[in-house]
Symmetry: C2
Subunit: 411 residues, 2 copies
C-alpha cells in the first residue's frame, strides 16, 4: 500500500487504519469513467432502463406534497412507511418480516459495516464464501477479523467444507453468504444446500448473514427459498433497492431479531443519525404502485438477460480452450477461470486495449484467484460486451511474462 509521504499523524492512527488497503472500487471507478474503455468491471446497474418520466413524477410528488418531512431529519430506524413496503418485498421471498425488526441503511453496504461493528473484535474469525463480495470483505476488514474461507462450486458454498471446518474447531462469529446469483461467482446456492446450511449453522450456533441484492433479477428457473425463510431465528437478512430500482438513493435494509436490531439502530444513529428522508420517501413512493415497479423490474430483467446471453456467447467464441465460466441464472456477473492467467498482471494491458474487468484476487482476502476474473455484463450494451470479451480473449490467449505454470494455480 502506497502511503502519502511526510504524514505528521502517521503514529496517531488506530491499527484498523493500517488494515485498510487502497480501494479496489475507487480504482475501478477511475478506469470505468474513461469513455473509450469498455468496462466489464464495476457492477453499475443500467439505470437508463428505468422509466425516467415516472421517476421524475415520483420525486416531484414527494417534494411537492411532503416537503416538511422529506427535507427534515428522520428516525434512525428509517421511515416507517418505507419499512412496511420493504416487508412487502420480503414477503415475495417467503419471508415473514415485521417492519419493526427492520432498519433502513445506506445501501446494504452500511448494513455490512454495522454488522462488522457489532460482531467483530480484532482477531475474531468470520466465515465467508471464497470468492466473496469485495465490499463485504472491505466492510468486515475494518474490524480486523481472521477469515475462514469456504470454497464454492456451481451449486454455491460447499456445505461439507464448512461442516468439516466447524468439526475441526472453527468458531466463526458469523457466516456471510450471497445465495442468489453470487457476486462475483454468478452461481446460486442449491435448495438442498440451503436446507443443509441452515441446519449446520443452527447446530453450531453460527448466525448467518444472508445478502440478497440480486435475488429479484432472475432470468430463468424458479426462485429458491431465502435462508431467512428457512430459519428466521438464526438468519440476518440484507436487502437493497440498488439493483431493482436504483443505487442513487442509497436505500438498503437489514432484517434481524429484536436484540440485534436494537443494537444496529444504536450503531446506525452513531454513524450518521438517520438515512435521507427524501430518499426514503422516494423509495416508499416508488414501491407504492406495484404495476410501475414490477413493470420496470421486468424491463431491467430483460435487459440483463440479453447482456448475460451476449457475454456467454462471446466467452464461448473468443476465450481459449481450457477456460471455464459460470452460467448465471440472474444478476450481474460471470466468473471466468483461465488456467495459467495472471489477471492482475494482465489488467494494465487490458486497459491499454480498452477493456476493463476485476481481477479475481479482489474477491479473496488472501491473494487467491489470480487465474480468475469477474466480468460484469450489467452496464454495457450487447455489442460492447461482445467486443470487450473479444479483446480480452485475445489477451488471455497470449502467454504472459512471468505467469504461473498451470500446476501452481490455486483451486
Amino acid at each position: 500500500v502506497a502511503e502519502p509521504p511526510g504524514d505528521p499523524l502517521a503514529d496517531r492512527y488506530a491499527d484498523r487504519a493500517r488494515a485498510m488497503t487502497v480501494s479496489e472500487v475507487r480504482a475501478l471507478f477511475a478506469v470505468a469513467a474513461r469513455p473509450d474503455v469498455i468496462s466489464l468491471a464495476g457492477g453499475m446497474p443500467f439505470v437508463q432502463a428505468l422509466p425516467g418520466d415516472e421517476v421524475l413524477r415520483v420525486v416531484a410528488d414527494v417534494v411537492g406534497s411532503q416537503a416538511a418531512v422529506a427535507l427534515q431529519y428522520g428516525p434512525g430506524t428509517g421511515h416507517a412507511g418505507l419499512r412496511a413496503r420493504l416487508a412487502g418485498l420480503m414477503a415475495e421471498d417467503g419471508i415473514e418480516a415485521d417492519p419493526d425488526h427492520t432498519v433502513v441503511t445506506v445501501g446494504a453496504q452500511q448494513a455490512l459495516d454495522l454488522l462488522g461493528k457489532l460482531f467483530i473484535e480484532p482477531g475474531d474469525q468470520v466465515a465467508v464464501e471464497a470468492p466473496s463480495y469485495v465490499g463485504a470483505l472491505s466492510a468486515f476488514s475494518v474490524y480486523q477479523p481472521r477469515y475462514l474461507q469456504i470454497t464454492m462450486d456451481d451449486d454455491g458454498l460447499i456445505v461439507d467444507e464448512l461442516e468439516d471446518a466447524l468439526a475441526g474447531g472453527a468458531r466463526p462469529k458469523f457466516l456471510y453468504v450471497c445465495p442468489n446469483f453470487h457476486n462475483p461467482a454468478g452461481v446460486t446456492l442449491s435448495l438442498e444446500r440451503r436446507r443443509r446450511l441452515v441446519e449446520v449453522c443452527r447446530a453450531a450456533e453460527v448466525p448467518i448473514i444472508e445478502d440478497n441484492p440480486y435475488g429479484m433479477l432472475r432470468f430463468e428457473g424458479e426462485p429458491l427459498p431465502a435462508l431467512r425463510s428457512l430459519d428466521p431465528a438464526n438468519v440476518i437478512y440484507l436487502g437493497t433497492l440498488s439493483k431493482i430500482f436504483c443505487p442513487g438513493i442509497r436505500v438498503g435494509w437489514v432484517l434481524a431479531s429484536p436484540p440485534v436490531i436494537e443494537r444496529l439502530i444504536r450503531f446506525k444513529e452513531a454513524a450518521d443519525l438517520c438515512s435521507s428522508n427524501l430518499n426514503m420517501l422516494v423509495a416508499e413512493a416508488w414501491l407504492s404502485e406495484p404495476e410501475r415497479w414490477r413493470g420496470s423490474l421486468t424491463g431491467l430483467i430483460d435487459v440483463y438477460r440479453s447482456r448475460r446471453d451476449a457475454a456467454l456467447s462471446a466467452l464461448q467464441r473468443y476465450f481459449p480452450e481450457g477456460s471455464r465460466w459460470t452460467h448465471p441464472a440472474g444478476g450481474f456477473y460471470v466468473w471466468v477461470q483461465v488456467p495459467g492467467m495472471d489477471s492482475r498482471a494482465l489488467l494494465p494491458s487490458a486497459v491499454e486495449h480498452k477493456v476493463a474487468y476485476v481481477p479475481g484476487t479482489a474477491f479473496y482476502p488472501d491473494g487467491r484467484g489470480v487465474d480468475r476474473v469477474r466480468l460484469a455484463y450489467c452496464y454495457p450494451p450487447e455489442d460492447a460486451i461482445q467486443e470487450g470479451i473479444r479483446r480480452l480473449g485475445e489477451l488471455v490467449a497470449r502467454p504472459v511474462a512471468g505467469a504461473a505454470a498451470p500446476g501452481s494455480v490455486a483451486r
Copy 2:
C-alpha cells in the same frame, strides 16, 4: 441499559456493542413526535421556512436533466461539482480549501464516525469540551475512548485548562471542538482563545477536529476566523448543509490533509460505498445560485433570531432566581443551569406538562450536568417557545423529591 431478554447471540457481540447505551436521540424523537408536546428537545431545523417551490424546482431539474447520474452510484469522495461548491462555502469562512482534500459524508455525523474509526483504539484518550455535542460522544464512544473533558465558560473552551492537562501528561489523540454557537452550550470561542488554542494544540501535536454546523447562522456581531484558517495543517474541519439548507439530504463534509483524507475515503467506501448522487446533485444545484441560497439563509436566520429572543425573554420572565443561561449569538440552543435541579428526574413530569428538553447529563460522558438543560429554540414558533418555557419554569421552581442539595452540584 435495559437489554432484550433471551438473546441467543448475547455472547457473540464485540465489546463495543456493550459500550453503546440506548440512544438519547431516539427517545427524544419519540417525545417530540407527540403533537401535544412543545418540544424544546431535538435540534430540528425549521425547514418549513425554505422556499418550497424553489426546492421543488431544483430537485425536478436534477432528476429531469441528470437522471443517469442522479440515480447511479457515485464516487466515494463525493460528487466533484459539489465539492467545488463546498470549497466556495468554506472560502466565506476564510478557509482555503482544495476540493480534492474534501470528502462528502452523510451529514457531518458520518465524518465524526469515520474520524473516530481512524484515530481511536480502545482506551485511547480524546479531548472534548464539557459539555459536548451528544452525537459526537456517541460516534466516538463506539471506538471506546477515555475522555479528557475541558470545561467551557461564556468564551468557550477554557484553553488554560487544556494546557494544564497537557502539561500534566495528557496525550489525547485529538481535540474535538464546536467553536461557533456551541451545541449544547450556545457559546462562541473568543478570538483570543482561538489563537491560543491552535498554538497550544500545535505545540502538543494534538490535531483539532473543528465542527462548524451553525457558523453561518449568526444573529449579530462579526464572524470570527475558523480554527482551520488559523492553522490549516493541524485542523480537520467539518461542515454540513443540514442547518443552512436541510438535513433531509444528509450532506456534510470533512476537509483535512491528504493523508487523512486518503484514509477517510477508504473508510467511507467500506462504510457505505458512496453518498447519494441524487442528494449530492440537489445540494450542488442549490448552491449554484447564490442569490437563492443566501436569500433563503437570511430568512432562516431571521426566524431563528426571533425564536432566540423569545426564549431568552421567557427565561427572564419565568425561570426562578439563581438560574443562569447563555446568550447565543447564533445557532439553535440555549444552555440553562438551575442550581439544585435534577434535570433527568424532572423530565417525566415535564413531558406530563407537555414540554420536552434534553437533560444536561446527555452532553457529558460521565454523568455531570444534572442541574442543566439544553433548550432548542429552532423549531417551535415564538408563542410555543414562551409557553414551553413558562411550563418548565413552573416545574423547576418546585422542589423535586430526591434532588441534590445545592452544595453537591458539580461544576
